[in-house]
C-alpha cells in the first residue's frame, strides 16, 4: 500500500498508473497522516478519556463524510440519517447477541442492512429534489424512530439492549478500528468526488434533467450514493454500539442524531471532500468540552451556528480556509467551489420563459463557481482526457 504510493509521488508520472481520482501526492499525504494517527497513542501520553474520545471522533468523521456524499455531492440534505445509524447499530448488536458473530462481521452486516434500508425508503423519495427530499427524510427518521421504539422484541424498547461483555473490542482498541473506518470513508469520499461518478453527481446536483439529457442515470447514481452512505453510517452505528456497550432506540434513532450529521456537514463545508470530517471534529469539541456544562443550551447553540454559517460562510470551515488562502493568491479548484450549497437547490423551479434568464443570476454572484464550471477539466494531478471517457 505504502510503497507504490511513494514511488508514484516522487517519480513524476511514473510507470505505475494510479486511478485518475487518486493523485500520488494525496495518497502519500493520506498514508502519512494515517500512519501518524495509528502510532500516536503508542507514543503520545494521551489520557484514557482523550484516547477514547478521539476514537469516537473518527467514527463521527466517517459518518459525517458519508452524510456529505448525499448532502453535499448530490445536494440532497438528509434529515433522517439517524434511521440508518440506528438500524446498523441494532442489527449489529442483535447479531452479536444472538449468533455471537465477531464484532466486525456484525458491523458489516449491520451496515449492509442499513444500506438496504436506505434504498428501501430512498429509492422512491429520491425523486424529490432539494427541500422536498429533506422534509420527506424528516418523515423517514420519525417513522423509523416510532417503529423502533415500539418494536421492543427487536430493539428492547425503551429499556434498550446491552451488548455481550466479552468478545468485543475494548474502547481502547476501538481507536484503531475507528481509524480504519475513517480511512475507508476518506478513500470513498475521494473516489466519489474525483472519479467520473463524481462528475455525474455534480451534474445531477446542478440540474437533474440536463444530467439525464447527457446520459447520466440520475436514479441509479443517487441510489448508489444513498446505499454507500447508508452502509457507512450503519457501520458507524455498529461501532457506536460496541463503543457504548449499551444502546437504546431513543438515543440511536433520535432526531438530534440526524441533526448532528447535518451540523457536522454544514460546519465543515457541505459538498467539500474533507470539510465534513473537520466539521465532525469541531462538533465533538463543542459537544464534549463546551456543552458538558451547558447542556440546556445545545439546541440553541446549534441553531445559532447554523444561521451564522448559512448567512456568512455557506461553505463552512472549508470556505474560511479558501478565504484565507485567497489572501495569498490561491485560486480555489473547481470541485471545491462546485460542492457548496449554492447550486444544491436546482429542481425547484417555476415555469415561465423569463425564469430561464433568472437562473443565471446565482452563478453571476459567485465567482468561484463561475471560474470552476469552465475549468472542471483542468484539475491538477491527473490527465484531463481521462475525465469524461468512462
Amino acid at each position: 500500500m505504502t510503497a507504490p504510493g511513494t514511488a508514484v509521488g516522487s517519480g513524476a508520472g511514473g510507470r505505475l498508473r494510479l486511478p485518475a481520482w487518486l493523485s500520488g501526492r494525496a495518497l502519500v499525504t493520506a498514508t502519512a497522516v494515517g500512519a501518524l494517527l495509528w502510532l500516536a497513542p503508542l507514543v503520545l501520553p494521551l489520557g484514557e478519556y482523550t484516547h477514547n474520545v478521539v476514537g469516537l471522533t473518527f467514527m463521527f468523521m466517517a459518518a459525517a463524510l458519508a452524510w456529505n456524499w448525499l448532502g453535499g455531492y448530490v445536494g440532497q440534505i438528509s434529515f433522517g440519517h439517524s434511521a440508518m445509524f440506528g438500524v446498523g447499530g441494532f442489527v449489529a448488536a442483535r447479531l452479536m447477541l444472538a449468533l455471537g458473530l465477531p464484532f466486525w462481521v456484525a458491523w458489516l452486516a449491520g451496515g449492509l442492512a442499513a444500506g438496504g434500508y436506505a434504498l428501501l425508503w430512498g429509492h422512491p423519495t429520491l425523486r424529490l429534489r432539494g427541500p422536498y427530499f429533506s422534509i420527506a427524510t424528516i418523515g423517514v427518521g420519525e417513522a423509523t424512530r416510532l417503529v423502533a421504539t415500539y418494536w421492543s422484541a427487536f430493539t428492547g424498547g425503551s429499556s434498550g439492549l446491552s451488548l455481550p461483555l466479552s468478545g468485543g473490542p475494548t474502547k481502547f482498541q476501538l481507536y484503531w478500528y475507528g481509524l480504519y473506518l475513517l480511512s475507508v470513508a476518506v478513500a470513498l469520499s475521494y473516489w466519489l468526488r474525483r472519479s467520473p461518478i463524481g462528475l455525474a453527481l455534480l451534474a445531477i446536483k446542478e440540474d437533474v434533467e440536463a444530467a439525464g439529457d447527457v446520459g447520466v442515470d440520475a436514479t441509479r447514481h443517487q441510489d448508489v450514493v444513498l446505499f454507500l452512505s447508508g452502509t457507512v453510517v450503519g457501520i458507524c452505528g455498529g461501532f457506536y454500539a460496541s463503543y457504548q456497550a449499551f444502546i437504546d432506540p431513543q438515543d440511536m434513532f433520535s432526531f438530534d442524531r440526524s441533526i448532528s450529521f447535518i451540523l457536522m456537514g454544514v460546519i465543515g463545508g457541505i459538498g467539500t471532500i474533507l470539510g465534513a470530517a473537520a466539521g465532525a471534529v469541531v462538533f465533538v469539541i463543542i459537544q464534549e468540552f463546551l456543552l458538558a456544562n451547558y447542556s440546556q443550551l445545545y439546541l440553541g447553540l446549534y441553531g445559532t451556528l447554523l444561521i451564522l454559517i448559512i448567512l456568512f460562510e455557506p461553505l463552512g470551515l472549508a470556505g474560511l480556509l479558501i478565504r484565507v488562502r485567497k489572501l495569498f493568491g490561491y485560486r480555489p479548484r473547481a470541485d471545491v467551489a462546485a460542492g457548496g450549497l449554492r447550486s444544491a437547490a436546482v429542481g425547484v423551479e417555476t415555469p415561465g420563459a423569463v425564469e430561464q434568464g433568472v437562473r443565471v443570476e446565482p452563478s453571476e454572484q459567485s465567482e468561484p463557481v463561475e471560474r470552476g464550471s469552465g475549468g472542471l477539466e483542468e484539475r491538477s494531478g491527473s490527465p484531463p482526457v481521462d475525465r469524461g471517457s468512462s
Binding site: 422534509i135 447553540l301 434568464g357
Partner: protein, 291 residues
C-alpha cells in the same frame, strides 16, 4: 355503518384544521419558493403563547386569535427581514433557506425548553370536555369550533388573495416574479407580506392545536410533516387543492385505525407520501409541486 359515519365526520373536522395548518406553508412556498422549516416551531411557539395568555391572563384561547395573528405576523416579518432576505432568491437559495429556518426552529425549541421546561402542557377550558351531538353521534365542541375557525380563516384568505390588490400581487408574484417587476409590483414587499401572512397562519394553527392536543417544545415536527404531505398531495395555488390534500390525509389517518396500531397513525402521512411519489411523482393532481 354508524361507526364509519362517525369516523368520517371526525375526519372532515380534522381536515379543516389540517387545511389551515398547511396553508401557511403552502403560501410561503408558492410565492417565495422556499420551505419554511420554522413552520413547526411557529406552531409550537403559538401554542405556548396561547397557553400563557390563558393561564396568566385568563384569556380564552379563541378570543386570543387576533393577538396571535398580529404577534406571529410580526414574527414572520422579523424572520424575513432579519434573515431570509439575505439569501439568494428562488431555487438557488432553497437549501440555504431550509437550513437557515431549521436553525430558527432549533433556537425556538431551545427557548421553549428554557422558559417552560420540557413537560407536556395542555389548555383546559370550561368547555374542553363539552360535546355536541350530530346525527346521533357526539363530537367534541372544541373540534367543531376549530373546524369553524379554520373554515373562516381559509375563506377570508381566499377572498384576500382574489379580491384585494395585495392579494392579487401575491398570486402574481407566485406565478411570475419578473413580469411583476415589469408592471411595477414591489416584489420585495410582497415577499415580506407573504412571509408574515404564512407565519400568522402557522400561528393560528398553533393556537387551534393547543386547544386540541397536549404540547411540549418538540411539538410541531409532525405538524410540519403533515403540512408538507398535504401540499404534495393537493398541490399549490388554490384553497381547493389544499382542502383536498387535507381531506385525503385526514381520512387516511382516521381510517388507518382499522389497519395499524394507533401509535403508528402519525406515520400514515409519510406512507401516503411515498405511495403518491411512487405512483404519481408529480403529485396527485399534477400541479408539479415537485421539481
Amino acid at each position: 355503518m354508524g361507526e364509519v359515519l362517525t369516523l368520517a365526520v371526525s375526519a372532515v373536522l380534522l381536515a379543516g384544521f389540517y387545511a389551515a395548518m398547511a396553508y401557511g406553508l403552502g403560501l410561503i412556498y408558492g410565492v417565495l419558493r422556499i420551505v419554511n422549516l420554522a413552520h413547526g416551531g411557529i406552531i409550537m411557539a403559538s401554542a405556548y403563547l396561547t397557553w400563557q395568555l390563558f393561564t396568566k391572563l385568563d384569556l380564552d384561547p379563541y378570543l386570543a386569535i387576533p393577538i396571535t395573528l398580529v404577534v406571529f405576523f410580526l414574527v414572520g416579518l422579523a424572520i424575513y427581514w432579519c434573515l431570509v432576505r439575505f439569501l439568494p432568491r428562488g431555487s438557488a437559495g432553497a437549501v440555504q433557506s431550509l437550513l437557515l429556518l431549521f436553525g430558527v426552529w432549533l433556537i425556538m425549541r431551545n427557548l421553549a425548553y428554557l422558559l417552560f421546561t420540557g413537560n407536556d402542557q395542555a389548555i383546559r377550558t370550561r368547555y374542553s370536555t363539552a360535546s355536541v351531538s350530530i346525527l346521533g353521534a357526539s363530537y367534541s365542541l372544541n373540534r367543531l369550533v376549530v373546524f369553524g375557525v379554520s373554515m373562516v380563516a381559509l375563506i377570508a384568505l381566499h377572498l384576500f388573495l382574489t379580491r384585494t390588490y395585495w392579494g392579487k400581487a401575491i398570486r402574481a408574484v407566485g406565478q411570475n416574479r419578473d413580469s411583476c417587476t415589469l408592471v411595477g409590483i414591489d416584489v420585495e414587499r410582497v415577499y415580506l407580506l407573504t412571509f408574515g401572512l404564512g407565519t400568522a397562519l402557522a400561528g393560528l394553527a398553533g393556537l387551534l392545536a393547543s386547544t386540541l392536543f397536549a404540547f411540549n417544545p418538540s411539538f410541531g415536527a409532525s405538524e410540519l410533516l403533515k403540512s408538507f404531505v398535504i401540499i404534495v398531495l393537493g398541490g399549490l395555488g388554490s384553497v381547493v387543492g389544499i382542502a383536498l390534500g387535507a381531506g385525503i390525509l385526514a381520512f387516511a389517518e382516521v381510517f388507518s385505525i382499522y389497519v395499524v396500531p394507533s401509535y403508528l397513525t402519525s406515520a400514515v402521512g409519510f406512507v401516503l407520501l411515498v405511495v403518491v411519489l411512487v405512483l404519481r411523482p408529480g403529485g396527485l393532481f399534477g400541479q408539479r409541486v415537485l421539481g
